[in-house]
């Protein structure tokens, strides 16, 4: 079905955070007519697979909207219950639930708020009925993805300022946001900079490095083992730019394994003036604060526990439901992060909770 230009009042629009209005285009979504056979986990993975630009939180939001489409519910309460149940199912299916949680929480908050008719600035006559609200969400499903993409463009605009002429950017992880920033900066004729890409063995890192090269940037690739050496030896590095999977409330990040290492080295290696910035959309903020030890376990991430010393030199069967080694994540303390480049501007780590507060 085609979505029209959103005709609803501004206040009713979906709260993926970019304030800029993205151009709405027609979009044909696959219909899940059979409500009984709706599988949220499958839908989520289909969505994630079908669009390589989509982020995990947005895929989670879209699958929840698909759920609304597939399951006719007559009352608001029924709908909320359903959404919560399926959200829990989706979360349980993922060894790293944080990105899904970020999106699903955002959607749930929005849903609750619109069902209560309490969206800010809504005058009484504009309060929509349950059916209208539901229909509105369904009609505008694609807006989430569009806004997320617009957010990435916005981040590129902000982030370009942090790429300095004559300097070197150190980056890793194959983040799409980071790539976008570097490509935009490369298009700027006044900036001549070079990139050192840390390759961590994942295809997406190599692909990102290739993409940057194709755009005419001078890219040098190094292995993870060389990070300390390069940071110490290359005084021209003034920016370390990483992406992330999730931002925690306290301003820390849960990101691809190795990020914490690079962040720690950036802080501790002397020589030159280096800043670590994280480029991420605000919809990646997850309402969790990692305060209990061990951090990742308490965040609900299931990955190999090194502390168990299970690796005895012989091949043992991997536990089911754990993250693949290449998808493992680590937690970077806010202390090590100089700032976040978001679509809402540059935020310090301590400002993250203010953004969370935005949508509660």
């Amino acid at each position: 079905m085609a979505t029209d230009e959103p005709s609803q009042p501004q206040a009713q629009e979906l709260p993926v955070r970019p304030k800029a209005q993205p151009a709405s285009s027609s979009y044909f979504s696959q219909q899940h007519d059979d409500s009984q056979s709706f599988d949220i986990v499958k839908t989520y993975h289909e969505l994630l697979f079908s669009d390589k630009d989509i982020t995990m939180p947005v895929a989670a939001i879209e699958s929840l909207i698909e759920l609304m489409r597939a399951t006719p519910s007559s009352t608001a309460m029924e709908l909320v219950e359903k959404v919560r149940a399926e959200k829990a199912k989706l979360l349980a299916s993922a060894p790293n639930p944080l990105p899904i949680l970020a999106g699903a929480d955002l959607f749930e908050q929005y849903l609750l708020r619109s069902l209560r008719g309490q969206t800010e600035g809504t005058s009484p006559e504009k309060i929509l009925s349950f059916d209208e609200t539901r229909q509105h969400l369904l009609d505008n499903r694609q807006l989430f993805a569009q806004r997320a993409k617009a957010a990435r463009d916005n981040i590129a605009v902000w982030g370009t300022r942090y790429v300095s002429d004559g300097k070197v950017v150190l980056t890793m992880g194959g983040s799409r946001t980071v790539t976008r920033i570097l490509l935009r900066a490369a298009a700027d004729k006044t900036k001549h900079f070079k990139v050192i890409y840390i390759l961590d063995g994942k295809p997406r890192s190599q692909a990102a490095a290739d993409e940057l090269r194709a755009a005419g940037l001078e890219v040098e690739t190094i292995s993870m083992a060389k990070v300390a050496f390069v940071l110490g030896a290359q005084k021209k590095i003034n920016l370390v730019l990483v992406g992330t999977e999730a931002i925690t409330q306290d301003g820390g990040i849960v990101s691809a394994m190795g990020t914490a290492q690079v962040a720690a080295l950036t802080k501790s290696i002397k020589g030159g003036m280096k800043r670590l910035y994280v480029a991420a959309e605000t919809h990646k903020i997850v309402r969790k604060t990692p305060i209990a030890y061990p951090t990742l376990q308490h965040l609900g991430i299931k990955q190999k526990d090194i502390g168990k010393f299970e690796n005895l030199g012989v091949e043992i069967t991997q536990d089911e439901g754990l993250l693949d080694e290449q998808d493992e994540v680590d937690y970077t303390d806010p202390e090590l992060i100089d700032g976040f480049i978001t679509e809402q501007g540059i935020k310090m780590a301590w400002q993250i909770w203010e953004l969370v507060d935005d949508y509660i």
Binding site: Q249, K288, W350
Partner: protein, 451 residues
């Protein structure tokens, strides 16, 4: 006062004997001419400063005495008068202190000024004080009298225990209260029935932040009562409200915090705590009840010794405990812990924590060792308006340890950067948030207790 004729050195501004003289009343006494007028400006300044400190102490002491002996003018009985500020007094300023001795004879004399040894610099820091029952204001309710005594002797000590005792006593006050003819409850109750109680409690021991918050809410609640409401109904409503506060803000909060915090304890963890705090104790027991096996390291407050009791309780519950009677060897103990759990008296609007002296040392050491500090605190303890960046703005002097050589402050201030998260009963903020996040939410939220 003889000492006042020459610049008094800091620390001895108030002489034991005359300080007890009530400042109130007797406007007739003229300025005594004992003051030589040939002091240098610097001397004058020093003298004025010393006198100010002395006056503060005196005003405080005088409150009770003034209440006992009806002063010549009216109004001494109500709350405003008891504050000793707005009263008409004869000569103001320096002369006031100078002429005080002339009226000493007729008043009861307290033998020893407990604050005499406190240096000027700390003169603003209040101290709990045993107010003899005979000197209490006549309007103070017996229930409040006993609560006041318990507070001044630290039998009721931590903020929540004091809050609960206060609320229960106030419930009695409201129960026994009858609006005089020609008055309305919403106008009369606070100034004539509640304020004397509040003043008395404050005098026994400075109010804690939780009490301040609750009393503010209670006053707002009373103000909101319709003048035309029948008195019985209004009183019933207030008593019900007090019950709600006790149930929701104290009992339920304690349960929720213990439950949430217990979830943060992992099997095999070592949790370090300082002194004995009710919430931390509840959390450990809850975690044990949930089947977690973990160790506890107790760093005791060397002056309070509550950690010993905590150690016994935890041992009995089957939790292995490492007990240290003081802060010695803090660093390795903290570094070995998985998390540090601390309780607090209050959290300020800038996220800093007001807690038993020594808490800040533990928190800073933990931060330095990379161990995250979790603070457990009910939201009633949050001060949304005030900030604190040092331990001197809001503190108390330990009345038990206040000698000529030294004195001890009860609390210290832990800045928010040493605290990883605060567990409160307020959950929609995602449970365990930085203190500032919770405060932001609290500020945004209309307090449900007022409406």
């Amino acid at each position: 006062m003889a000492a006042e004729t020459h610049p008094a050195p800091a620390g001895t501004p108030a002489k034991p004997g005359p300080t007890a003289a009530p400042a109130a009343g007797k406007p007739s006494a003229p300025a005594t001419g004992g003051e030589p007028a040939k002091l240098t400006p610097a001397q004058l300044k020093a003298k004025a400063k010393a006198e100010k400190a002395a006056r503060r102490a005196q005003v405080k002491d005088a409150r009770t005495a003034a209440a006992q002996v009806p002063p010549p003018q009216h109004g001494g009985g109500d709350a405003k008068g008891a504050k000793g500020k707005g009263k008409p007094e004869g000569p103001q300023g320096q002369n006031k202190a100078a002429h005080r001795p002339s009226i000493t004879g007729s008043r009861p004399v307290i033998e020893k000024d407990v604050r005499s040894s406190i240096p000027d610099f700390f003169s603003h820091v209040p101290m709990a004080k045993r107010v003899p029952l005979s000197q209490a204001h006549k309007d103070v309710h017996p229930e409040v009298l006993s609560v006041g005594q318990q507070m001044s002797t630290f039998a009721v000590k931590d903020s929540i225990a004091r809050l609960e005792a206060t609320l229960r006593a106030f419930a009695k006050v409201i129960e026994d209260y009858e609006t005089p003819k020609g008055n309305s409850l919403s106008r009369h109750l606070v100034p004539h029935a509640l304020n004397p109680q509040i003043d008395y409690l404050t005098e026994c021991r400075p109010m804690c932040f939780a009490m301040g918050n609750a009393i503010r809410l209670l006053k707002a609640k009373i103000n909101n009562i319709d003048i035309n409401d029948p008195e019985d109904e209004a009183k019933e409503g207030l008593l019900e409200w007090i019950d709600t506060v006790i149930n929701e803000r104290i009992k339920l909060a304690e349960f929720v915090i213990a439950r949430n915090a217990a979830q943060l304890i992992n099997d095999g963890a070592t949790i370090l705590t300082y002194g004995r705090h009710r919430l931390v104790e509840k959390t450990f027991l809850k975690a044990k009840e949930n089947g977690k096996s973990f160790n506890v390291t107790i760093i005791d407050d060397p002056f309070e010794g509550g950690g010993q009791d905590l150690a016994k309780i935890l041992r009995e519950a089957g939790i292995p405990v490492l007990y240290s009677p003081n802060l010695g060897g803090l660093r390795p103990k903290v570094a070995a812990a998985s998390n540090v759990f601390l309780g607090g008296e209050a959290i300020f609007a800038n996220g800093s924590l007001n807690a038993a002296s020594g808490t800040a040392d533990v928190a800073m050491t933990a931060q330095n060792a990379g161990v995250k500090v979790i603070v457990l605190c009910e939201t009633i303890n949050f001060d949304r308006e005030r900030v604190s960046v040092d331990a001197l703005t809001y503190n108390e002097i330990d009345p038990e340890r206040n000698t000529a050589e030294s004195f001890r402050l009860l609390y210290d201030n832990t800045q928010d950067r040493y605290i990883a998260g605060v567990v409160t009963e307020f959950e929609s903020g995602g449970g365990n948030s930085p203190a500032q996040a919770i405060l932001a939410l609290l500020r945004k939220q209309e307090d449900p207790l007022i409406a």
